[in-house]
């Protein structure tokens, strides 16, 4: 907050001068761009390193999947420590736990009681890795190592019976995972078929 006294004492003359001379300065400055075609262009170039550090997103073709790997058994340990408090030890829902469940519901989507889980609904396994890495656990997002994310992903896929218990999940094998509801979507965006 400032008082009127301050404005008049300290800023009045400056403001008046700016008003008088500013007009001339602006007139000169705008002389070069009368056609209005000159665009404001203030973006700063980004280095590959900065982009690589910021680019979290993973597309279904596997772009951006990092090095590393994990197994369901390794994932079970991480899950028990960091995920089970909200999701239950095996990702199944019960009273007091976060909905929806992570496990089950495969084959229920046409029924009267469809259950949408990672296993029954999500079309791509890459989405699982992407989401766990960026958003889980809720109280410490981005805290899991890439190995841990692969392991937790493997554990959830294994609980759903989508991969074998002894499977090793890494950038290559994650891409080969066939999600049960892969063909269960119809794109409504013109020109894009899912």
């Amino acid at each position: 907050m400032f008082s009127f006294k301050e404005i008049f004492a300290d800023r009045w003359y400056t403001a008046a001068a700016a008003a008088i001379f500013g007009g001339f300065i602006l007139a000169f400055a705008s002389g070069g761009s009368q056609d209005g075609a000159q665009a404001v262009s203030l973006g700063k170039p980004l280095s590959e390193e900065v982009i690589a550090a910021a680019d979290l997103s993973i597309t279904p073709d596997g772009t951006n999947l990092p090095a590393g790997s994990g197994t369901p058994a390794q994932g079970k340990i991480v899950f028990a420590k960091k995920c089970a408090v909200c999701h239950g030890p095996e990702g199944k829902w019960r009273e007091g736990l976060a909905k929806p469940p992570l496990v089950g519901g495969i084959g229920t989507l046409k029924s009267d009681k469809p259950v949408q889980t990672v296993g029954s609904f999500w079309p791509y396994a890459t989405t699982l890795f992407d989401y766990v890495r960026r958003a889980m656990p809720l109280n410490a997002p981005l805290s899991l190592s890439d190995d841990e994310v692969y392991a937790v992903s493997a554990y959830i896929l294994s609980l759903n019976g989508i991969i074998k218990e002894n499977a090793v999940i890494d950038a290559k094998s994650l891409l080969k995972v066939e999600m049960p509801n892969r063909s269960g979507f119809v794109s409504r965006w013109p020109g894009h078929t899912h």
Binding site: L42, A54, S57, D61, K110, W122, P123, S187
Partner: protein
């Protein structure tokens, strides 16, 4: 809700439709009644005020303050906060606009609805970086300071969560008795001001063959969505201002995307990154949440435009009638496809309909206020409204909407809202 001044019983030719809906001229005819009432009492203005003795006219008021706040008598006008996971995830949920307490078309900034996925980040704008990269000639980073120097545009539009009206969706088999703000308060409208996304994409030299963008927020959920390039080049704004002031933290401070007409989730808040791509990313939100399951078990993907919709807000659940007499029915209508062309109202459960008056200006893809006079005879009846937009889209009944989706489907519910008015003055949400 307030009853309007009682008037003489309407003439028979003043009814616009069944159930007591009145033509606008019924209101114009009664306009002279009020003007004469004070003179009839024989009081001067000074005497009238002195007799009333309002204490706030006899002492100095509160000092001026730098930022105005609502009256303490309006404390009840606040958003309803719903947390689906409870206190364990108190930053995950929705805050709904209290439609039953608002009468305009622009939502006050503190009452704009909110959907947040893991809390509201308190972002220092000096440290915030926004980058555009991917299929571009020159990947660029823009500071907030630099964005404020770009030529700006403003658009008045609604933002509606795809899950708005979930209480009336297939999640519920019985109509829930909650205020209209709970039923439909995941829609709000504001004047958004910022830089066209197309301007910034042009500066990076984005590849003309790239058909998709990935937009990502700087929140603790890293909320991200794919956006078609066609929409990005059309009318998407990187917004910095909301109703003239900088965007509130809950709405994405210091910057968010605004995609007029598209589902709320795509209007990514706390925008930090846009990646130009030739495919959608199939993020968690656009696959597991914002897809629409049909009766055959298949799900529609990338259903972006919010359909034609309306709801009566007065009278509505959360309010109470004050006896038979003339009321103004008032509500909001909107469509993501364009401007609202007509709003029809029924006061007899859908048997007959009449056109409501639309308040000007009717902005494309924004909230439009509609009004209509109604003479309630005190008997039970059901009020409904339905929008017809400029493209001819209209609202289905709740029964029809429900049948076109699978069990439990909640998103994109634009069914006609029905409120039953009971003789005791209570108002109920009903499924028709």
């Amino acid at each position: 809700m307030r009853n309007t001044t009682p008037k003489a019983a309407p003439l028979s030719d003043e009814f616009a439709a069944g159930g007591g809906l009145l033509h606008r001229r019924a209101f114009l005819r009664s306009g002279t009644v009020l003007a004469t009432s004070m003179a009839a009492a024989g009081l001067t203005m000074r005497e009238a005020v002195a007799a009333d003795g309002p204490e706030w006219m006899t002492k100095q008021g509160a000092p001026l303050r730098p930022y105005g706040m609502p009256s303490p008598f309006e404390k009840h006008v606040e958003r309803a906060v719903l947390l689906p996971f409870g206190p364990v995830a108190d930053g995950t949920g929705v805050a709904l606009t209290p439609l039953q307490h608002l009468r305009g078309t622009i939502t006050p900034n503190g009452l704009h609805f909110e959907r947040s996925h893991n809390g509201v980040p308190q972002i220092d704008p000096a440290k915030h970086r926004f980058m555009i990269h991917g299929m571009v000639k020159n990947p660029l980073e823009f500071s907030i300071e630099s964005l404020l120097r770009y030529p700006m545009v403003s658009t008045v539009c609604f933002i509606e969560c795809a899950g708005n009206s979930f209480f009336n969706s297939n999640l519920f088999s019985k109509a829930m008795q909650v205020p209209v703000g709970h039923l439909h308060g995941l829609v709000s409208a504001a004047e958004w001001t910022g830089v066209r996304l197309s301007t910034l994409l042009e500066e990076t030299g984005a590849d003309v063959d790239a058909k998709w963008l990935l937009a990502e927020g700087a929140d603790a959920a890293g909320m991200s969505r794919s956006i078609p390039m066609e929409k990005a080049l059309d009318d998407v704004i990187v917004a910095l201002y909301q109703n003239g002031e900088r965007i509130r933290p809950e709405q994405g401070y210091p910057m968010r995307l605004v995609l007029p007409g598209y589902e709320g989730n795509m209007n990514v808040k706390w925008l930090r990154r846009i990646k130009v791509l030739n495919q959608p990313t199939y993020t968690k939100d656009e696959t597991s949440k914002y897809t629409d399951r049909r009766p055959n078990g298949k799900s529609n993907l990338f259903t972006y435009t919010m359909d034609a919709k309306s709801t009566i807000t007065h009278p509505a659940t959360g309010l109470k009638m004050q006896g038979p007499g003339v009321y103004e029915i008032s509500g909001l209508a909107w469509s993501g496809h364009g401007a609202v062309k007509r709003v029809e109202i029924s006061a007899d459960g859908g048997n007959s309909w009449a056109d409501a008056h639309l308040e000007e200006p009717v902005h494309s893809r924004s909230l439009t206020r509609f009004r209509m006079l109604w003479n309630w005879d005190g008997k039970p009846t059901t009020l409904q409204s339905r929008t017809i937009d400029e493209k001819g889209n209209t609202q289905p009944t709740r029964a029809k909407w429900s049948r076109s989706y699978g069990p439990g489907q909640l998103n994109h519910c634009n069914a006609i809202q029905s409120f039953t008015i009971n003789p005791d003055g209570s108002i109920a949400n009903v499924f028709i």
